[in-house]
């Protein structure tokens, strides 16, 4: 029998068979907990009903129940004797939004005037110590949020997992997307699957507060998951009091960028520079066909592709929230829908968001709360040819690029729209249920079960018309699932002016990462976009594809379990002195058994100088130290010496069988994993001074930090004569040092009749240094980069270019008459002139120098709010200085000869390459056919200063609620705020590429990032 399954579902089904158990257990746990509580509520109702012998709900009451949202909350309200709670008890119910905000909290109100999609967007320039990398403006693509610098190597896309901060939403740590899917990919451009950043799923409108946690002891409380810092987001939630309704909406558009397109005539002129000077007869004979025929209007005709590639894109968002309740129970509901888009390549992302929070206080000593947030994102991705071939891992003949002509391009786009399937969906759920008991008034117990689940589905079909007659389909289903079960017992003891707080707790978390990926080539025709398989499990060809499809399947699973036991001791002396210490034991499943448990201590002392000396302005000093374990998300180090099925080679890394038999061997191309691999950890030291002046009109916060990330695992070279690419060893240490200064000032106090002006400036200085390598090594070569102890880990390793050899006599000759050579190939006229640093007349790796850095030395933001008579204006600047990027785009443009000859993926020419996107003036004309590879990217010819200052956002708003007309018509209006926002207003930079922000995580600028263009939005925030 043949069954047809939709491709996503097909994988879904497999997964259903493979991993349902965990879900069942999870669901059961949730069910039991909720059953206990709701069951209790119901039973109390019945008791009451029997006692007074009357119907439980009158009709009138029923109508009211329908009117309100939470039946459970209502039941409790109506049945338990209402007694007034005091303030303190009432506070217990509000589990969300009770956090005391600190200097590291963001001023969220002005940020909310912007159509920002991902967490990284909100943070840019807004928070001290946070630097956000975003290689593309395409909605939903990955960003990297760095808190206090790079603590680990970051040489490719997969490395961002080692550096990115943790994101906590209402205390639930969001799972990461494990990077193991990159293992089956030959190219590092995109992750397989929808490749949508989980961090784009949170709705900005649902956020109440964002805080950056950098304080060592607070991080120590969170544990290893927060080793790279934490972004703590609290969302909208239930609220006791009058029912509150909010409606927010905006509509906006993203404008087209200015481009200077060119056609083949320009390209021909460009290339003639090289052909005239250096080309041989043979080179000319092999001149590319599309350039050699100048009568071909497709290429030599008008270049107007940009009319189709760029089009003004609209974006919008609407959300609705409702909160209300009594002292006993309250609830909050949030519903939101957002569409974000950019003007390039019709890329966009649609997001749906639903959030629900219920808090209950059945007894004064017992609080229950639960929150669930479900999101869905659907993404229309770019149509880059490179990304398509990388996904297929199949390179056809690349000699003829897409034509720059609109008519030709429209046919291409038409096929794309009609025949291509490219569905990218991610679903996210996170939530928790929390029970808090006061065993005694000063002894509290809390238990919390949190779940975070993120899945991605991608269905892909490329028709034969697009892919030179072969079609391609792939399906991906993958997920990250995390649950955390935490228990905490807290005891508080007050003697005279001293307060002792002791808590002990345990956290247990399980992460499960999984993906199923199948790809198939050359199906029977372009109409069958499904993988049709035999569905009868009794048949020999069960799940075999039909119709001559060649289906290759890949799947993998990875787990990370973490168990922590911690104790926290706090001592406060009369608001003057605060001492805190956290002691933790963390056990990880990804560390080898004999070193699985790590003990980490931390301590801090805070002295409130203002209280001590009775100063009028705030002044306190805090010194903190913490050690934190750093998590590892691969279980392979824990396995010790191991065997794997890895029989592939560099061009086809996925081959795992020979003649159909699985072959196992030591994993030579992964590296040797020994028995003595242990935890890496991070030592954090921080000194913070918080000051206020002029009656708190000016407040400053100054932090000095030093962070040592020690004993990290690195792949160290070993002699190749044992077959291994290297050996994994602990011992890579990175030190980050920095200063963060925040100055918040009320320059002009807000007053109805006067102009008010508040300003906030944050200045961050960061430097990192590699302080040690495993085994006492001083240098480690990683691909095209060199790591040297004593130098920063984000430097480029480059030849120093000083021009060009114009005549034979320019080439230096050594004593024996041998000319300067590049690994044996003598330099000739037309070659690049590189400095022979060690004077041995050989240009090789020894002559490469560490230059530049790809993370900034200084960065931060400057935010201003002006207000006058209900009108407010917000200006947000962001800047980064002392940062470089390597212009790979320019290198590959100039290196056309070898790129094209090799039919390498670098030879792909996208439609947007028909534009002037590099500074032609800057580069000399070298001999592109030279054996010394004069346009190699690893030279300072392509190193650029990527410092910038940007006005990211300007918004003007006015509260219509102030108008009498509005007040009278909508009596319950609390606020009716309308605003107009402009984003990406201007950039000041020396960078010659498109935008200094659109640089890959490793500092390479490849020109693939979709541009950040001006966006204008008009929005309304209505609070009723």
């Amino acid at each position: 029998m043949v069954v047809k399954l939709s491709r996503g579902r097909f994988l879904h089904k497999i997964d259903h068979y493979l991993a349902p158990k965990r879900y069942k257990i999870l669901a059961l746990c949730m069910a039991v907990v909720s059953f206990v509580h709701y069951g209790y509520a119901a039973s109390s109702v019945i008791v009451k009903e029997n006692n007074i012998n009357k119907p439980y709900f009158s009709n009138k009451e029923m109508t009211r129940i329908v009117g309100e949202l939470s039946p459970v909350g209502l039941v409790l309200q109506d049945t338990i004797e209402e007694e007034e709670f005091d303030e303190e008890t009432r506070a217990k119910i509000n589990t969300l939004n009770t956090r005391k905000l600190t200097m590291d909290s963001l001023d969220i109100v002005p940020i909310k005037n912007n159509p920002y999609l991902a967490v990284g967007d909100y943070l840019k320039g807004q928070a001290a110590g946070v630097y956000v990398q975003s290689p593309s403006a395409e909605p939903g693509t990955y960003q990297n949020v760095l808190v206090r610098g790079l603590s680990a190597l970051q040489l490719n896309n997969r490395d961002i997992n080692n550096n990115q901060a943790a994101l906590y939403v209402n205390g639930v740590p969001m799972g990461i997307e494990n990077n193991f899917a990159y293992d089956i990919q030959r190219y590092d451009y995109n992750r397989i699957g929808p490749a949508t950043d989980y961090w784009a799923s949170i709705d900005l409108s649902s956020i109440k507060s964002i805080e950056i946690i950098k304080d060592p002891t607070r991080l120590a409380e969170l544990g290893p998951l927060a080793a790279n810092g934490a972004i703590w987001i609290t969302t909208f939630g239930g609220k006791t009091g009058e029912r509150e309704i909010s409606v927010n909406t905006y509509y906006g558009f993203n404008t087209k960028p200015a481009v200077t397109p060119f056609n083949a005539a320009y390209e021909d002129l460009f290339r003639q520079n090289f052909y005239k000077r250096y080309g041989t007869e043979d080179d000319r004979l092999k001149y590319p066909g599309y350039l050699s025929d100048s009568t071909n209007l497709n290429y030599y005709g008008p270049s107007n592709w940009q009319d189709l590639y760029h089009s003004t894109a609209s974006l919008y968002s609407m959300d609705f929230s409702l909160a209300g309740g009594s002292d006993r129970a309250n609830f909050g509901v949030f519903l939101g829908h957002t569409k974000n888009a950019v003007s390039s390549d019709e890329t966009n992302l649609k997001r749906y968001n639903i959030l629900f929070n219920v808090n209950m206080l059945p007894f004064e000593w017992f609080a229950v709360s639960t929150y669930v947030n479900a999101r869905r994102m659907e993404r229309d991705r770019n149509r880059n040819v490179r990304d398509r071939y990388a996904e297929m891992s199949y390179l056809p003949d690349l000699s003829t690029p897409l034509a720059p002509n609109k008519n030709i391009y429209s046919q291409y786009i038409g096929r794309y729209k009609n025949e291509v399937v490219d569905d990218n969906v991610t679903n996210h759920v996170n939530g928790n249920i929390r029970l808090a008991l006061d065993i005694f008034s000063n002894l509290q117990f809390a238990t919390n079960f949190a779940l975070d689940y993120n899945e991605g589905v991608r269905d892909l079909f490329y028709p034969g018309t697009l892919m030179e007659t072969i079609n391609y389909m792939s399906t991906y289903y993958g997920y990250t699932q995390r649950f955390v079960f935490s228990n905490k017992l807290a005891y508080n003891y007050q003697v005279n002016r001293s307060n002792f707080a002791v808590s002990v707790g345990s956290d247990y978390s399980e992460d499960l990462f999984r993906y199923n990926f199948a790809r198939a080539y050359d199906g029977p025709n372009d109409y069958i976009k499904l993988n049709v398989v035999n569905g009868n499990s009794n048949d020999g060809d069960y799940l075999d594809p039909r119709g001559g499809l060649r289906v290759l399947r890949y799947n993998n699973k990875e787990r990370f379990h973490l168990h922590s036991i911690y104790g926290k001791l706090g001592y406060t002396y009369d608001d003057l002195l605060e001492l805190t210490s956290v002691l933790r034991w963390d056990g990880s499943s990804t560390v080898q058994r004999d070193s699985r448990w790590l003990f980490t201590p931390s301590a801090s002392v805070k002295w409130n100088v203002d209280k001590q000396f009775d100063l009028r302005n705030m002044f306190n000093v805090k010194l903190a130290y913490a050690r934190l374990g750093k998590p590892t998300y691969t279980s392979r180090y824990a396995a010790g010496p191991q065997y794997a099925a890895n029989l592939g080679w560099s061009q086809d890394p996925n081959v795992s069988s020979y003649f159909g038999y699985a072959g196992l061997s030591r994993d030579y191309s992964f590296g040797w994993t020994g028995y003595n691999l242990t935890w890496a950890y991070s030592d954090n030291l921080e000194l913070t001074l918080n000051n206020a002046f002029f009656n708190d009109r000016l407040s400053t916060s100054l932090s000095l930090y030093q962070r040592d990330d020690k004993d990290q695992i690195a792949l160290m070279p070993v002699p190749f004569e044992f077959g291994y690419v290297g050996e994994y060893k602990n011992g890579l240490n990175v030190r980050n040092q920095g200063i963060e200064a925040v100055i918040n000032g009320i320059i002009l106090p807000a007053d109805e009749e006067k102009v008010g002006w508040t300003t906030s400036l944050n200045v961050n200085f960061n430097r990192n240094e590699l302080t040690a390598l495993p085994g006492g090594a001083t240098e480690l070569q990683e691909g095209n980069r060199l790591l040297r102890v004593g130098e920063a880990i984000d430097r480029f390793w480059l030849f120093q270019n000083t021009g060009e050899y114009r005549s034979v006599s320019d080439v230096p000759v050594d004593g024996s008459g041998r000319p300067l050579n590049n690994n044996g190939v003598p330099f000739e006229v037309g070659d690049a002139r590189w400095v022979d640093q060690n004077g041995d007349y050989i240009i090789n790796d020894d002559d490469r120098m560490l230059q530049g850095r790809f993370t900034p030395k200084f960065f931060g933001g400057f935010n201003n709010t002006l207000s006058y008579r209900g009108v407010d204006v917000n200006l947000a600047f962001t800047y980064a200085l002392g940062m470089n990027a390597l212009n790979q785009r320019a290198s590959s443009r100039y290196d056309f000869a070898s790129n094209e000859d090799n039919n390498a993926i670098g030879a792909i020419r996208e439609i947007f390459h028909w534009q002037q996107d590099i500074d032609i003036e800057k580069y000399p004309i070298y001999n592109v056919w030279s054996g010394t590879n004069p346009y190699r990217v690893d030279q300072d010819l392509f190193l650029e200063n990527a410092s910038y200052l940007k006005l990211r956002s300007v918004s003007v708003g006015y509260d219509l609620g102030r108008l009498n007309y509005v007040k009278n018509t909508l009596k319950t209006t609390r606020r009716a705020y309308v605003y107009l926002t402009a984003n990406n207003v201007f950039t000041i930079t020396k960078f010659t590429g498109n935008d200094p922000e659109l640089v890959n995580f490793n500092g390479m600028y490849d020109g693939y990032g979709l541009p950040l263009t001006k966006t204008f939005t008009l929005g309304l925030k209505l609070d009723l």
């Binding site: 092999k286 007894f363 017992f366 390179l395 056809p396 003949d397 000699s399 238990t447 030179e468 007659t469 345990s506 247990y508 050359d522 290759l552 993998n556 699973k557 990875e558 056990g587 990880s588 499943s589 691969t634 279980s635 392979r636 396995a639 010496p641 191991q642 065997y643 794997a644 029989l647 080679w649 560099s650 061009q651 086809d652 081959v655 069988s657 020979y658 003649f659 159909g660 038999y661 072959g663 196992l664 061997s665 030591r666 994993d667 030579y668 040797w672 070279p717 070993v718 002699p719 190749f720 044992f722 077959g723 291994y724 690419v725 690994n823 044996g824 190939v825 000869a897 090799n902 590879n933």
Partner: protein, 515 residues
């Protein structure tokens, strides 16, 4: 009642905590599903099977990575020209130190040492399985170890041909220690390889799993396509001796092959392009290069499409094919028309010739001869052998050697040893199969026999990775090509050693020619 509930909830909570702490250490065991750790390995027959297959798979990976087999053996000083790729031109012209990634990768021997390490690990650890799994027999172990030794010896021989002196490592050092070892004189390396092979050929069978017995659950029709057998062992021995110029040994080893090849179901490829699996043939969809070939192979590395191992890379087709076979305007490498006409002079040659009657070409080895760039079509196994080249992944075998090659090697040895008549006989076996006119004893005066044998090798084995080594052997016998002779004298026949290799092991010295 409230009190009661209160008490109960506390109790429940405490129970939950205690439960959790009990199970915590156990819960922290979440071993990788991707790998098999040392502790649980080498326990059962499936471990030895997987490890055995692993060695062959690693060897295949080493040979096809960057099309290494053809880069080393076929392109260098060979008959192929690069159409546009400068890195391939550099290989052809022996400019092996140019700044191309390809050259850097090709001069790294890591993948070959991975094979050697895997073989050493196997030899050391496979005997453990005997204690754990009764299904694993002594005979099975002996076969496996003999194969491991043969694979290791083959790999050393292969490396010596490329780099000359290489470090000789005969144990696995499988303990996380990686000593820096210096290069061993190539003669000692080859002596070791020869010793190992002599031991191995004693044990290696002609066929694995001859019914009613099976070898790892499969019979000989399966294993004859991929595993090293007794004939394979002798074939390596013969080549090892030939590379060292010990032609007496070559004669002895090839004698054994000629007497016994039928035992391994090896046959001559009489048919140039068979139309079915019943006859043994050279090219086409049923020839020796496809997985459809139903006879025994001598040394062959499979990439069967049906097993999902056909790939776009690692096959000579990746370099040689273009339209009309695949969607590409021009191939990366091709044999020029002059070279073709110079080589295939006999109009009856079934490989390539001009039919004087019709004026048409016999285009078995080369297609589109009328074009400027003819396509080398001798080996063109698209997927499992289809004519539709839209989805160009290749399922061709890497045939290291076949009976015709060994016949010509024997002819070469006998010619060197002066046994011309027997050498001519063997040469004419091949000529007869390809319908070209025989070499007569009377030709000895005009056409030197040794030249003719190498000429025949050139015609017959084109695209199979022999040309460069043939040139070296020929010029060692008699200096024909001054360039090659110069390379031999200066040790320039060897490849440079990758800078990465030199960096990781300070004991390794660069080949003098490339300094």
């Amino acid at each position: 009642m409230l009190k009661n509930l209160y008490f109960k909830s506390c109790l429940i909570a405490l129970c939950v905590i205690s439960q959790l702490n009990f199970s915590c250490n156990k819960a922290l065991d979440a071993p990788s599903v991707e790998v098999s750790p040392e502790e649980v390995h080498w326990q059962s027959i499936s471990d030895t099977k997987a490890a055995l297959i692993g060695m062959y798979g690693l060897l295949r990976a080493a040979l096809v990575d960057n099309n290494a087999h053809w880069m080393y053996g076929e392109l260098r000083s060979g008959d192929f020209t690069s159409y546009r790729r400068q890195d391939l031109s550099a290989v052809v012209n022996s400019e092996l130190n140019k700044s191309f990634t390809l050259l850097e990768d090709l001069s790294n021997w890591r993948r070959f040492y991975a094979v050697i390490n895997a073989a050493s690990v196997f030899i050391e650890k496979a005997p453990r399985v005997l204690e754990h799994d009764s299904r694993y027999t002594k005979l099975n172990l002996d076969y496996d170890i003999a194969q491991a030794k043969a694979i290791r010896a083959f790999t050393y021989f292969y490396m010596v041909r490329i780099w000359g002196d290489v470090p000789l490592i005969t144990s696995s050092f499988d303990n996380g220690k990686f000593p820096q070892l210096a290069r061993t004189d190539h003669r000692d390396v080859l002596m070791f390889a020869e010793q190992e092979l002599i031991e191995a050929v004693e044990v290696l069978p002609f066929r694995y799993g001859v019914a009613p017995q099976t070898y790892y659950g499969a019979t000989s029709s399966n294993w004859q396509k991929i595993l090293f057998n007794k004939i394979s062992g002798y074939a390596i021995l013969a080549h090892l001796a030939a590379w060292q110029g010990k032609y007496l040994d070559v004669a002895a080893y090839t004698q054994f092959i000629m007497d016994n090849y039928t035992g391994a179901n090896v046959v001559y490829l009489n048919n140039i392009m068979p139309s079915g699996t019943g006859t043994a043939g050279l090219t086409g969809n049923f020839g020796v290069f496809t997985n459809n070939y139903q006879f025994g192979q001598i040394i062959n590395f499979s990439s069967a499409y049906s097993y999902g191992e056909a790939t776009a890379s690692g096959h000579i087709e990746q370099l040689t094919l273009a339209t009309p076979y695949v969607n590409r305007a021009n191939p990366d490498i091709y044999v020029s028309k002059e070279t073709i006409t110079k080589l295939y002079t006999d109009r009856n040659d079934r490989r390539f010739g001009v039919d004087t009657l019709s004026g048409l070409y016999r285009e078995t080895f080369f297609t589109d001869f009328s074009n400027e760039i003819p396509v080398f079509s001798k080996i063109k196994i698209i997927r499992d052998g289809v004519n539709d080249g839209n989805y160009a992944v290749f399922g061709s075998n890497l045939v290291f050697t076949r009976l015709e090659e060994l016949t010509l090697l024997r002819a070469e040895a006998l010619a060197v040893l002066g046994q011309n008549v027997r050498a001519i006989e063997l040469l004419n076996v091949i000529k007869g199969m390809r319908f070209t006119s025989s070499y007569q004893v009377t030709d000895l005066a005009t056409k030197p026999l040794i030249d003719e044998i190498f000429m025949e090798r050139r015609r017959e084995l084109m695209g199979e990775g022999w040309r460069f080594y043939d040139l070296v052997r020929l010029n060692r016998i008699k200096s024909v090509d001054p360039k090659i002779s110069h390379l031999i004298e200066q040790n320039g026949i060897y490849w440079p050693i990758s800078r990465n290799v030199l960096r990781n092991n300070s004991q390794i010295v660069q080949n003098s020619y490339w300094n």
